[in-house]
């Protein structure tokens, strides 16, 4: 119990700190994140530029602050679509089984194999380019199958557990059973999937920006910055390090928080 609270505390503290920073980034950054020649080109980290500067002499820390906001909001929105859609599909198929299960799971397989880039291109051509909602919708759709698969198994194995069966015998409606009794018990499986999903969403957003959706320069997103930093590894290793660590820290702190929450709910170590 104590340890669980430790995770919760650490996760809350870290996530809170990061969230505060991200919020701050929406209103204020040390330098204008897109101002060029704010400092010398490829300046290493210093007091003036905590994470150094990039190829335009832009302050990387300011860009990370601003980019983290974009990344977090896109990744969270994406995950929300993916997790809700996936859980719904997983719950339906896992709980009811039968032909619904068959059809949905086959569709799921088809979607998993469908290249996400192509899906993204379809979304752009339907909605028009240059909209931030594009990336969220495209990525959200991409993330549904994996969540569906994970949650389906969880729901299936819970289906015949005693207390669920008794709830069913008592005539509780299916939706209620699913939401109140089964969903909390599938969290063990879903939480890590969410953590990895967040990570994947950050990266997918970066690769999507090359297709013309998502964040476009001079605006920053962590994923896009990391892929940009890749080409400057030798001139400015701090660029890749700064953005990479920001992503890791973000995912890590949310992961800790998730772990802490789970432990508190379960009372397990």
């Amino acid at each position: 119990m104590k340890r669980g609270n430790g995770f919760l505390a650490a996760g809350l503290a870290l996530t809170g700190l990061l969230a505060a920073l991200v919020l701050l980034g929406f209103f204020w950054t040390p330098c204008d994140p897109s101002a060029m020649a704010a400092g010398p080109k490829f300046a290493p980290p210093s007091l003036a530029h905590w994470m150094g500067t990039d190829n335009f002499g832009r302050d990387i820390f300011s860009r990370v602050l601003q980019g983290a906001g974009a990344t977090a909001s896109i990744a969270l929105a994406t995950l929300a679509i993916g997790a809700v859609g996936g859980c719904l599909a997983g719950a339906l198929t896992g709980y009811f089984g039968g032909p619904v299960d068959e059809v949905l799971m086959r569709l799921n397989d088809a979607l998993t194999a469908f290249p996400s880039i192509l899906l993204a291109l379809v979304v752009i051509s339907l909605l028009g380019p240059g909209k931030k909602s594009n990336v969220i919708l495209a990525l959200g759709l991409v993330f549904i199958p994996s969540f569906a698969r994970v949650s389906r198994t969880a729901f299936t194995s819970l289906r015949d557990v005693n207390y669920i069966q008794s709830a069913r015998l008592m005539g509780a409606p299916g939706g209620r059973i699913l939401a109140l009794h089964m969903l909390p018990n599938t969290l063990a499986v879903l939480l890590p999937a969410l953590t990895i999903g967040f990570n994947n969403a950050v990266l997918a957003e970066a690769s999507m920006s090359f297709l013309g959706i998502g964040v476009t320069p001079p605006d920053a997103s962590l994923g896009y910055m990391l892929s940009e930093a890749q080409g400057m590894l030798f001139a400015a290793p701090w660029y890749a390090a700064g953005t990479g660590l920001a992503i890791v820290l973000m995912v890590f702190s949310v992961g800790l928080l998730g772990e802490g929450l789970r432990r508190r709910d379960k009372g397990v170590l």
């Binding site: 897109s34 101002a35 060029m36 020649a37 080109k41 190829n55 335009f56 002499g57 291109l121 752009i124 380019p129 240059g130 690769s207 920006s209 090359f210 297709l211 013309g212 476009t216 320069p217 001079p218 892929s227 890749q230 080409g231 400057m232 590894l233 030798f234 001139a235």
Partner: protein
Amino acid sequence: MKRKLLEVLLLLGLLCAVLCGCGGGSTAKTPEEGPASGSSEPEAQPPAGQPNEITVGIAQDLDESLDPHLAVAAGTKEVMFNVFEGLVKPTPEGDLVPAVASSFTSDGTTYTFTLREGVKFHNGQAVEMEDVVASIERNADDSQGEALIPALAAIERMEVEGNQLAITLAQPDNEFLASLTLAILPRDYGQQDTAPVGTGPFRFVSRTAQDSIVLERFEDYWGEPAYLDKVTFKIIENADSILMSLQSGAVDLFAHLTSTQAAQLGEDFNIEEGTMNLVQAMYLNHAEKPFDDVRVRQALCYAIDRQQILDLAFDGYGSLIGSSMYPAFGKYFDEELTRYYTHDVEKAKALLADAGYPGGFSMAITVPSNYQPHIDTAQVIVEQLKQVGITAEIQLVEWGSWLSDVYAGRQYQATVVGVDASTMTARALLERFTSTAGNNFINYNNAEYDAFFQEAITAADDAAQTAAYKQAEANLTENAANVYIQDLADLVAVRKGLEGVRFYPIYVLDLSGVRYTA
């Protein structure tokens, strides 16, 4: 990630115009040495124990037909330049010298070529006049709507007499010779798409999709043979792998590096600088408001500080331009035009106010996502436009979408790309801005311009032609047809111990002169 890296830059890059006054009436002599000449050094050898071969990194796969008549990507033509030759071929100086022909004469209307003796195809067959005629006819065929090389439509007849080929044009054309750099191919060979056969100093060995292309020295080459036994082109698309492969020793030579990449290479490399030969500009769609207003376009030109673009995004590399012509085109390039618009925020604001936009406006700059230098340029432009109240937003699009939406569909406001000539003539750079041109993707419509252009292509002599082309260029500048920026620098990393990279006024990577220093 950066696929088709350079397609945007360079459209077809094929032929070299007669740049330095070897126009009508001149007779070129066979050079005493082949194109691999230049210095008469002793046989260059790699360090003892190493094979006499190099690996060249290229950022773009040759993912299309390898048939030189059908290939369209600049990156393909760049590599295959080593494999193919025409009757004439370009030199680093920008002249055209005989290649498969041993000599030629011309009076502007009739071009007469003598077939060089003993030229062989890579498959061992001797080049015959029928091959030459078939190759030209294939490119002149317009039964599908348009000839592969439209300039060849002017051919009235071709007459063969022994080893002489006389080509007669319907009307004089000073730039015609440039079209005859078209590759001479064996006439009965059906696999050019995947296993091409030409007459150049290297022969094609293999292509592995997304991995490599292998060329080997052609031992029966008619001219001075290449120094290297074998060249492997390794396709490396993403920026950090480019650097790592150079650092780790996997790659010996890499062209078209950015200044940032070049600066990151250590002691093992020499960086050689040439030009990319393209017109990088923010191209404006004249059919879209507010870019139909000349004052708005001029305001954009004044608002943008081109020198700052070079400094911020290119470490100062690159040459400023002022119209649709780049410096390597010596005689057509008018340096005055590069100074026509100077950075002047107040003037830009005044022009905008005059045009009815005192507070500026919002615009989208569409940029293909596969070429970082254009994205970087656009980022600086966005910052500079803020100062005159214009809110510009970059819209990255995938190259395939750019081709269909911007280039073919003309659905855009502004786009930052580099354009080069489909054939290396002034005509190829300037014809696209005539009001009826099929590839006039900026929708430029200026009667005066059309007249200048018409005057140029029908001019009787070279001087009149040059003058008319320059007037056309000035017209583009004065009307601020586009926001002209620069011709990018071409930075080539060459491993120490290698030498002989030569820059051309066209987009090629000639490896026949590359050798290990003794």
